[in-house]
Amino acid sequence: MTTRWSRLTAVLVVGFLSGAVAVGALAQSAGKTSLVGKLEGPEVVTDAGKAPKAFKEAPQLAALVKAGKLPPVAERIGQDPLVIKPLKEIGKYGGTWRAGFTGPADFWNGFRCCSGPDHLMFWDYTGDKAVPNLARGLEMQDGGRAWLVRLRRGMKWSDGKPFTSDDFVFWFEDIYRNKDLNPTPSAAMAINGKQGVIEKVDTYTVRFKFLEPYYMFPDVLAGSTDLAGQWGAYKSMGGFAPAHYLKQFHPRYVGEAELDKKAKDAKFDSWVRLFVYKNDWALNPDLPVLSAWKTATPINTPTWTLERNPYSVFVDTAGNQLPYIDKVVLTLAENLEVLNLRAIAGEYDYASRHVDLGKLPVFLENQAKGNYKVYLDPGDYCDLIIKFNLNYDADPELGKWFNTADFRRALSLGIDRDQINETFWLGTGTPGSVVPVDSNKYNPGPQYRKLWSTLDIKKANEMLDKIGLAKKDAQGYRMRADGKGRLRIEIMTLGGQFVQYTQISEMIREQWKKIGIDLQVQEVERSLALKRTAANEQQLAAWNNDGSEHLFTFPQHVFPFELAAVATSGPHWVKWFHSAGEQGKEPEPRMKELMEKWKKAFGVPEKERIQLGKDIWRIAAEEVYIIGVVGQGPAAMGVRVVKNNMGNIPSRMYNSPDAKTPGISRPATFYYK
């Protein structure tokens, strides 16, 4: 048959091609690869004594100063510089950092690399400890009921205007509390559901006051929360805002008519849209900022360019005003393959976002040609989790099983994690439960990594038989207890994400056949996923719990926390949780216990909180509300491709959205050798 021949020839051709792949000596190797280095990073020098007295600046700024267009560097930085000790050495000024982005929706890209970060507090390189950042100091008062934030004297916005307590008050009174700008109060500004307030003490001191002890507050300021600096501005959050600039767009300071005209001229339907636009770090180049770089050409153009902020308060230990690198240019990549291929070709100086782990071999192959090095930054979290919708009521039978601990445990035991790790993490991940990496301070103990999380078909089958799913059909699939035929479960996946949820789910589907579970994989598009979770139509869903290593600032993948989710553990419980029991349904006891502990933790000293954290994870691991599959892998932004001529690059960095990786490694200290 002609076709058969055409194929056979094709086979031979390709067989020849792949000959190249099949050669080479093979060393059987277990354990971690050389690509994962030791965790390291720059440090903030908090001891004012060690701060440099004299400052240097980038040549082009010096020129401006000479031309009288800019005040001298010392004035610009102010009396209390934010001193950062570079990882390896003092760098050189200059150069352009080339990277790629995928469009207006990709704003995280710039925030993570270039915002400084501009949090009041921020994590040290271990991602564990919150240290003063923009804030010179943070002082707990009144047993945690009040927090005194000391600002840096003489510190300025990027337009040269001083950064003072007024900017906090303005944000609190005119943005946060303005119903048009922000309809819903933020959990970050509240403790135990009770909202706090911000008050001015003096020009450089503000106080956050709460009704109950809020011991978590430093971590909240450090994490990617609603009080985490200007990146939150696009949704009217942040904790502070450039009052002097934004007032001109706020009805309280300008007449309605005038403001409406401004909006119309800018082609906006309402002043709200105008204000939100003007207050957007990525969209509005005129917006005064505190970050190391500031947007020059906005994110909604083919190239998103960021330039050094001449008033940047960041300096190195030698007194050089940071950043070293002049410019960050993110060019629009029409699709991810192009973006990756550009990285492979070495057209980017530093890339980790959107870099696809599946392409690791190709990256390694081209390291020399592209003159770059590949690093792996495994996360401390689980790269693949499977959420059960514990509130699923469209099919009571299924709902019942999802709420049966042994059912969830059995399914977890039915997964061959090594297979998945080998196939999709190229063996770089760690199979196991949902608990974060052992070194995480909330980790309940090594034994919980394996708990209910190893392949044990026999046990799984026994458990399923025992709970009343013994009956099987001709194909060997388990029958429903209510006699309505085969027990069919559906898992919802999203395509085009960092992790290949659909393909992995297909593999799990195959594995679960062995325990008689018929899993249907259903890839959906993002908006639909959202609709289905909101409508409580989701049964199982595959996702990851990145951020959960910061249990208290990023909890949405530990228990039912947010409604607008692409993977939910139970919308009714979310409502119950946020409405303090007024809406939704009351969770089952252990989930309730977990939620209580989480709430409690914000109001107790760290030692106690850590204990609570461990309890929470213990419960999560024992109950298997969420199946952990493979974790601590580099799947999400963990494959880092850096040009060899870039300096101060950590061999491994803490990889977490809550730490704005690579922000935690202070890109302001990167430089070109």
Binding site: T184, F268, D269, T303, L528, K531
Partner: protein, 329 residues
């Protein structure tokens, strides 16, 4: 003649209107709206959007009104030459599209020309030498383009370009000239980047054109006037080129209109793979993000482009075929 053109123009206008309705309808087809996909986007990148915020957004974007109201609203803008604001890009649609439309046209036209350069000789040859090995070979080559999935071809070429020639990956400009103002240098840079996309696109159309040319010519070759021409003692080549080919070109010209949308569609896919700054990838994003004004405008503009293309080809036809001119006047 004028009457004819006038009639065609009127028809075109009607068609454009129909397209505007259709395109708007297309955008409305998928469930949910921009806000839905925005929240989903947020949620999947780890940030939380509450119901109230969603409602706010809906009101601000004027969503939730009945579709015909939104359509009229849009049309009011369109007739004023302003196509409204892109929700995702937070800029006027026109700005967002910017050069992309022209680049799309450039690529499409380049592809069209390439198609003809390939298709004409192949078509003529395989008609004159029907069933000869040459005929088969030519047709074969022509069909290859049609048969090879162009998205795969594009990716392979992209990769080979990098491996073999260290070519810049994707795009139509070298990064330096990416957003430089138009200049000779930039135009030349564009010209240098054109061949590969044009080829990939052109190949797809070629087969079709070869077929048309071949069929037409086969018909014409049997007409007596060819014998007349021969009996004058003209050389075979001259006979064929002056008479039957000339005739066969007429229906050929009339296919521009139908080839254009074909190529534009192709350009969407190819642009996506090669990362070309055309309207293609923009449209795809817009449709997924349900950024209705942007998506609607792009579909509308593409439609208009093809209508104009058809119109031109009709007029061209009248111009090159005197007979029609006589009948029509």
């Amino acid at each position: 003649m004028l009457a004819y053109v006038g009639r065609r123009v009127l028809l075109a206008v009607f068609t454009v209107w129909a397209i505007s309705v259709l395109s708007f309808a297309i955008i409305q087809l998928p469930p949910g709206d921009y806000v839905t996909s925005y929240i989903a986007q947020m949620a999947s990148s780890g940030s939380v959007v509450t119901e109230e915020e969603a409602q706010n957004l809906r009101i601000q974007y004027g969503l939730g009104q009945p579709i015909y109201v939104q359509y009229l609203k849009w049309m009011k803008l369109v007739v004023r030459g302003d196509f409204g604001q892109s929700m995702e890009w937070k800029r006027p649609v026109i700005e967002v599209i910017g050069d992309r439309l022209w680049l799309t046209v450039v690529i499409s036209v380049a592809a069209l020309i390439l198609t003809w350069v390939l298709a004409l000789p192949i078509g003529i040859y395989s008609a004159v030498r029907q069933y000869s090995p040459g005929d088969y070979l030519a047709t074969f080559v022509g069909f290859i383009g049609l048969a090879v999935p162009n998205f795969l071809l594009a990716l392979v070429l992209l990769y080979l370009g990098f491996v073999l020639f260290n070519a810049h990956i994707g795009g139509l400009f070298t990064p330096e000239l990416q957003d430089a103002p138009w200049s000779a240098a930039r135009a030349w840079d564009l010209a240098k980047h054109l061949p590969i996309p044009a080829l990939i696109l052109g190949l797809a159309g070629t087969a079709q054109q070869v077929r048309i040319m071949r069929a037409n010519l086969l018909d014409e070759l049997r007409k007596p006037y060819v014998v007349t021409a021969r009996s004058k003692g003209l050389s075979e080549l001259r006979v064929i080129l002056k008479y039957p080919v000339r005739m066969a070109l007429n229906p050929f010209a009339s296919t521009i209109g139908y080839t254009l949308p074909y190529i534009v569609s192709g350009s969407i896919i190819v642009s996506l793979v090669l990362g070309l700054p055309t309207v293609g990838p923009l449209l795809l994003k817009a449709l997924i993000a349900q950024d209705m004004f942007l998506a609607g405008t792009i579909v509308l503009l593409l439609g208009v482009m093809t209508v104009i293309g058809t119109l031109l080809s009709d007029i061209l036809l009248v111009w090159i075929d005197p007979r029609i001119r006589i009948e029509e006047t």
